[in-house]
């Protein structure tokens, strides 16, 4: 089986090496037993949690369930596509470093305030594991389909192969940018099957 794969032995990153959103610093308690006792002691009393209680309880945990507004940023785009499964290996594109956080670009940048309905462009550069990867188009197509299914209509998605990472990047880019060819590809049952399999692991 391995002989049929373009890259039978790719480099794999462990889960801890992948970029993640910095979660608010939590207490350093290690064991569950600690958490059990500490929760019983330090959680906000129920009578202060009644729906109409206006007493604040500033212990730093309040904003956890708050509905804080955060724009769609590069990390979120990365999170959407990094758990797509590779068509050859049962490993995610994030772990194979096919998609990387620095290769996700949003214009105008999410930090600049603008009308929420204004048009934005997401550019993702995909890095195949080897330069002659025959599945580069499928990878690009997977990323594209996933983003189109997960982003609102005012986001325009562009997927390209990262410069110099593939011997035929021009051709692949042309295929990925051609809307009609993308639409036709999605009509193809075999290809649709492969894509569905890839996107199965996306939450």
């Amino acid at each position: 089986m391995d002989d049929n794969k373009d890259n039978a032995n790719p480099t794999i990153l462990t889960a801890s090496e992948l970029p993640t959103r910095q979660i608010k610093k939590k207490k350093t308690l290690a064991s569950d037993a600690d958490a059990k006792f500490a929760d019983a002691v330090s959680r906000r009393p129920l009578f202060l949690s009644d729906p109409f209680c206006d007493v604040s309880w500033s212990d730093g945990t309040e904003s956890e369930d708050d509905f804080v507004e955060e724009p769609i940023d590069e990390q979120e785009i990365y999170d959407l596509i990094s758990n797509i499964t590779d068509p050859e290996h049962p490993i995610s594109l994030g772990q194979l470093a096919v998609v990387n956080l620095p290769d996700v670009e949003i214009t105008p940048p999410p930090s600049t305030p603008c009308d929420p309905n204004a048009l934005r462009r997401v550019l993702v550069k995909v890095t195949p594991t080897i330069t002659h990867c025959s599945l580069a188009t499928v990878l690009g197509l997977g990323v594209r389909v996933r983003l189109e299914q997960a982003l609102p209509p005012n986001y325009r998605v562009d997927v390209v192969i990262k410069e110099g990472s593939h011997s035929q990047d021009d051709q692949v880019n042309k295929q990925l940018a051609d809307k009609e060819r993308v639409a036709a590809a999605l009509e193809n049952d075999t290809l649709k099957g492969v894509l569905d399999k890839m996107l199965e692991t996306c939450i």
């Binding site: 350093t28 290690a30 600690d34 002691v41 009578f47 009644d50 509905f67 804080v68 929420p116 209509p153």
Partner: protein, 1196 residues
């Protein structure tokens, strides 16, 4: 009486099992008690017994049935009914059938013979005859049905299990055992699992009870080893036998006797050495079988010693090159058993051979871990093997540790050392006085040669973590032999604890790391490793823990010097370190001395810490107080585990038992405890000495700890409150009880933030009091006069301070007129100490509260809460509300008459009148009205939790439900408060001894929701003016209903689900963006989860309205964004966010609950809405939209 012939005929002609005929035949034989009857009985089947060989099929069945008649009769016959010669004749008859009637006679004969073998008249010599006749079946044996074969196996098993028969067989056949050879021949190709179980059992019994010749042994060994490794094919008619049963039976044959060792062990090893051809399951089976042989062969010198080296040579590779955990574990188990069985001299030879491999492997980084595992399995076998391993391996291990440069190699060697230490600890407990566990190799020498060297070498976090683990084990080692003592010198122990304290307590507090340039995770890993190591060591070495607490306290001043970090972060750090101390000290009781030792040392230390921080911001107080609370909970938890099972600790009927005196006055028995209310920090040495003198049994210790906890709570209460006496006032006069107790001078009023933190501290203190007090039994609560403490907050209890003089007077005033005492919440400092009173009140049993006069307690409290304007606002008011709920719930019915109850309700009803009065005469502002209304609802919440179905008790509830939602101006706000009736409250939990009736949910539903469905829809026949008002009232009514329903269980309201769905649909369209919508969505999701069919008819309305709610909430958000600019979050915006979240959560669940055909009509519009929702400003809502979109787009 019917003749035997008739009975036999009746039996033969019957279809199923006819018990009647055999029973009657048996009775007839017993009552006749002569030979003739037996003869007639046997002869009764003669007519079917002719010409067996040429019989037609029909005759065959009748004959089998007739023989069965005889067998069944024997079943019902008394064991003493037949004489020996009759038994012999019958045995002869049935035996003959094995040669003459292979088609019809076997099953019945076997059954009959089995019965005969258990007769008193059965002679053992007949056993041999039976077996011989069975073997005459020859090839016809395997043609019998499995059930018949089972009968035969049962017969033989019965014979083999009978010692007299076995003895006779051995005597008759000698070691040739030819009966067995014949039997093995007959039974050779058995396949049925049930039969195999019996057959293996027969073989095992034979091997154990007979001494056959070599040839027979070989035959028998072949008979079961041919099945090895045994498997079981899945069958359509499962027999109930599992493959593990079969494996166990075969294994028992292998391990049955050492006489077959020369065949069994080489056989198993040859199977194992087949390499990759063997699967993991088979390999594990082989190893476990080998282990069983080694463990069970009795004659070690003949059965095990000759094969020890052979076993080692094969098994070592399973660990050395093994990858599968199961195989490795089974191998280690086998080697461990081998080492355990070998006598010392042979063990020595065996180990010296093994060490040749192990020594080399330990020096090789690739195989160190595997060699270590093998070494441990040998060392753990017995004290002798440990001493042998330690003597040979320790010098090599320390040398390798010194020489190796590789970190992973060091870590592996340290892991081996740690395991050796753990094995040594375990063996110290079981070793005899003469066992030598090589003390000289494991004491200070190991510390100096091994751990100290590693510590100084600047090793990485991984290695350090292992070293710390090992050092903790080393510090807790004891010497072997008589008069066991600490193995390491005191200096080494202190050294170890100091290093561990540095890593887990001191450096984290100072913001440093043990390893320079270590990442945050690495530092945390080191810290956690040190904490775990300390947790293991301190129960065995309490002085180390005292040192640790001392180090913690002495680091606090340095910790406070670090002004660069935010105070809240600093406090979190302090709390974290203090919690670590609690984890180290309170997870296990000390092994020698009072089990309380470490708990008391820690909590005293934390009290001292709190005392030293009183000039600092209150956020630090909270950090320490929370740690004290956790330490109390943890310690109590640890002590509860030690208690005998049968005695639940806190029940109302728990009468005074031994140790009660400690609860009332722990400080009288243990001297030197700190008293921070008197600014005394205590004397550790005195505490240690007094603790040593206390009883050490589990029940006493638990009581002692309860007493200690009360001691802590009461002094904290006294420290942070004070009796307010005007200067020069006599304590016997001028005392205004309402304002007697206020905050102590520790509380300054510098900033509002600080006041908020102080209030939080008071809440936490109250919570600690609750958890201590609720663990006491009712009697003890009464004895401690805790009802009185609710007002006095433990003041004057110690008999020393000024306030002691006030106590008798105050307590008398509280208990005036013999009408029962009352509870007062002090109004001083704007009721800021109200939570402390609540803290005590919440934990009391209803029985304890029976001493109060409910009227004199509840009425004044209601007056305070109904008064306007009030000083009591914010969090203090909520504490009083909770107190009101507690009192209305726990007050005893018998102490309050219906009139008195009505008086209380009238007082509240007056308050409600103020709330509901019309706008024109209104003097109160809306927040005050709402506050009063909430207090009334709190009272009712306590009452309805233990509802009484009479109208005398519930009229106020009914009035409020009838009128509040239709209030013209504030009806909606009032309706929103209805949730208070059922929302979860700490004061109304089982844990806090609240009186909760099991069907309260249904009752509340019947009273507050069900009658009002009709009001949720405006009547159609009104004019435009009225209809607007009607509309509003209907909406308010719906708000009230959902505020209650969101807290009820689905079963409480399932009977009216259809009605509720209709109200849901209207409410989705009328509630607007508010928290009320979330209540609706909660109920809707419950309906969807439990009974989606109810929603089927309304899907169009539900889908459209829910999507409309989402859109509305999004638009509200957008308009707020434009109005306020980005980045500003307000309550309204987070409300809108919550609305969108709950709407999408419902939409996402729909595709999983309905067939696609119901949803497909909405698919396009929903997907459109969801794709827009993917751009929601809140990340959590976006995630819901994405998963919802996936679910909806998969519909087809």
């Amino acid at each position: 009486m019917a003749s035997f012939d008739d009975l036999a005929l009746k039996y033969v002609l019957s279809d199923g099992d006819d018990n009647d005929s055999p029973v009657r035949a048996a009775t007839a034989i017993e009552s006749a008690a002569n030979r003739l009857a037996v003869g007639q009985w046997v002869a009764s089947i003669n007519r079917w017994m002719t010409s067996p060989d040429d019989a037609a099929d029909d005759d065959l069945i009748s004959r089998a049935k007739a023989l069965e008649f005889l067998a069944r009769t024997l079943e019902f016959l008394k064991r003493s009914s037949l004489k020996p010669d009759q038994v012999k004749l019958l045995v002869g008859f049935f035996n003959s059938l094995f040669s003459s009637d292979h088609r019809a006679g076997i099953s019945a004969s076997s059954r009959a013979l089995k019965q005969l073998t258990s007769m008193n008249g059965f002679r053992p010599t007949l056993g041999s005859e039976i077996i011989t006749s069975v073997t005459k079946l020859g090839d016809d044996f395997k043609r019998q049905t499995p059930a018949t074969r089972l009968e035969i196996y049962d017969l033989i098993l019965g014979l083999f299990s009978n010692p007299l028969v076995a003895e006779d067989l051995a005597y008759q056949h000698g070691n040739s055992c030819d009966f067995m050879t014949a039997l093995v021949d007959v039974c050779r190709s058995e396949r049925d699992p049930q039969n195999l179980m019996k057959w293996f059992e027969i073989l095992r019994l034979f091997l154990q009870n007979f001494s056959p010749a070599k040839e027979v042994l070989t035959e028998v060994f072949k008979a079961f080893s041919d099945y090895f490794p045994i498997t079981l094919r899945a069958s359509v008619t499962p027999s109930g036998i599992t493959v593990d049963d079969l494996k166990g039976a075969v294994r028992a044959c292998f391990a049955s006797h050492y006489r077959i060792a020369d065949m069994a062990i080489p056989f198993l090893l040859s199977k194992l050495d087949q390499g990759d051809a063997v699967t993991v399951t088979v390999k594990v089976d082989i190893l476990l079988t080998l282990e069983a042989c080694v463990a069970q062969y009795e004659h070690v010198a003949q059965g095990i010693v000759p094969y020890a080296n052979q076993i080692w040579a094969s098994l070592k590779y399973e660990v050395r090159n093994g990858e599968i955990r199961d195989t490795i574990d089974a191998t280690l188990k086998a080697i461990g058993t081998l080492a355990k069985r070998l006598p010392e001299a042979d063990l020595r030879t065996f180990f010296s051979a093994a060490w040749r491999d192990l020594g080399d492997d330990l020096s090789n980084a690739t195989y160190t871990s595997q060699a270590g595992q093998l070494l441990i399995s040998i060392a753990a076998a017995s004290p002798i093997s440990f001493s042998l391993v330690a003597e040979t391996a320790m010098p090599h291990i320390t040398t390798t540790l010194r020489q190796t440069k590789s970190e992973s190699h060091q870590a592996d060697i340290l892991a081996l050392l740690n395991s050796l230490l753990q094995v040594r600890s375990a063996l110290t407990d079981v070793a005899g006085e003469n066992d030598n566990l090589k003390d000289e190799l494991f004491g200070d020498k190991l510390f100096a040669d091994g751990y100290a060297r590693i510590w100084d070498s600047g090793a990485g976090p991984h290695v350090l973590a292992k070293a710390m683990d090992g050092m903790a084990s080393l510090a807790s080692q004891r010497t072997s032999g008589p008069n066991s003592q600490m193995l390491c010198s005191q200096q080494v122990c202190e050294n170890i604890f100091q290093w561990l304290a540095l890593s887990s307590i001191i450096f984290p507090l100072e913001g440093k790391s043990l390893v320079h340039s270590a990442s945050e995770e690495d530092s945390l890993a080191i810290c956690n490793a040190a904490t775990t190591a300390l947790g293991r060591a301190v129960p065995l070495y309490p002085p180390g823990f005292q040192r640790l607490v001392f180090d913690f306290l002495s680091t606090i001043p340095r910790f406070l010097e670090n002004k660069q970090v935010d105070v809240t972060d600093q406090a979190t750090l302090l709390n974290d370190v203090a919690l670590r101390l609690a984890r180290i000290g309170c997870s296990a009781p000390v092994k020698l001395g009072s089990p309380l030792l470490n708990f008391v040392v820690l909590i005293n230390g934390l009290l001292q810490g709190l005392h030293s921080l009183l000039k600092e911001p209150p956020v630090y107080w909270i950090a320490i107080l929370d740690a004290i609370h956790v330490a109390i909970l943890r310690s109590a938890d640890t002590l509860t585990v030690l208690l005998p099972d049968e005695k639940p600790m806190s029940t109302p009927g728990d009468k005074a038992t031994s140790g009660q005196q400690w609860i009332a006055g722990f400080d009288k028995y243990v001297l030197g405890l700190p008293r921070i209310d008197l600014d005394q920090l205590g004397d550790v040495n005195l505490v240690l000495k007094s603790l040593d003198d206390l009883d050490g049994d589990a029940v006493s210790s638990y009581k002692q700890f309860q007493g200690y906890s009360i001691h802590i709570v009461s002094q904290l209460y006294r420290r942070f409150t004070s009796i307010k006496l005007a200067s020069g006032a006599s304590p016997l006069m001028d005392v205004s009880l309402d304002k007697l107790i206020g905050l102590s001078t520790d509380f300054s009023l510098d900033s509002s933030h600080e006041v908020e933190q102080q209030d939080r501290f008071l809440y936490q203190l109250a919570r600690m009091a609750t958890s201590v007090i609720r663990s006491l039994s009712e009697d003890i609560q009464q004895e401690l006069e805790l009802v009185l403490e609710t007002s006095l907050l433990f003041h004057g209890k110690d008999g020393e301070s000024e306030s002691a003089k006030v106590r008798p007077q105050v307590s008398q005033s509280f208990q005036a007129d013999n009408q029962g005492c009352r509870i007062t919440f002090s109004a001083a400092d704007d009721y800021r100490i109200a939570p402390l009173g609540l803290g005590i009140l919440q934990g009391l049993w209803p029985g304890t509260l029976s001493t109060i006069n409910p009227l004199r307690t509840i009425m004044p409290l209601c007056e305070i809460l109904m008064k306007s304007p009030t000083q009591c606002a914010g969090s203090r008011r909520i504490a009083l509300d909770a107190a009101l709920a507690t009192l209305s719930n726990k007050s005893a019915d018998k102490h309050i008459s219906d009139e008195e109850w009505s008086a209380v309700l009238n007082g509240l009803a007056d308050g409600y009148t103020q709330v509901s009065r019309g706008v024109a005469t209104d003097s109160l502002d809306v927040p005050t009205k709402l506050a009063i209304f909430k207090s009334i609802l709190h009272f009712l919440a306590g009452d309805v939790a233990r509802y009484r179905p009479t109208s005398t008790h519930n009229w106020l509830l009914r009035i409020i439900c009838d009128t509040a939602p239709s209030e013209i101006t504030i009806g909606r706000q009032l309706a929103q408060c209805f949730g208070i009736l059922v929302s979860p409250k700490e004061c109304l939990t089982k844990q806090n001894h609240a009186r909760l009736k099991p069907f309260r949910g249904q009752w509340i539903y019947q009273e507050t929701v069900r009658p009002y469905f009709a009001r949720c829809f405006p009547s159609q026949s009104l004019g435009a003016d009225q209809s607007g008002q009607e509309d509003r009232c209907a909406t308010n009514q719906s708000v009230a209903i959902f505020a209650v329903l969101r807290h009820l269980k689905y079963n409480d309201y399932s009977s009216d689900a259809d009605q509720i769905v209709r109200v849901v649909i209207r409410s989705l369209a009328t509630f607007g963006v508010s928290d009320d919508i979330n209540a609706v969505m909660t109920v809707l999701c419950q309906l969807l989860e439990h009974d989606p069919d109810r929603l089927k008819e309304h899907l169009t309305a539900l889908v459209t309205n829910t999507m409309a709610v989402y859109k509305m909430a999004r638009n509200v958000d957008n308009s707020l964004l434009i109005a306020q600019g980005p980045g500003k979050t307000t309550t309204t915006r987070s409300d809108a966010g919550r609305c969108r979240h709950s709407a999408l959560a419902f939409m996402r669940e729909l595709p999983g609950c309905f067939e696609p055909r119901y949803l497909l009509p909405h698919r396009v519009s929903v997907l459109q809405g969801l794709s827009l929702a993917c751009g929601d400003p809140v990340r959590g809502v976006r995630a819901l939209a994405i998963s919802g979109r996936k679910a909806w787009s998969n519909l087809s």
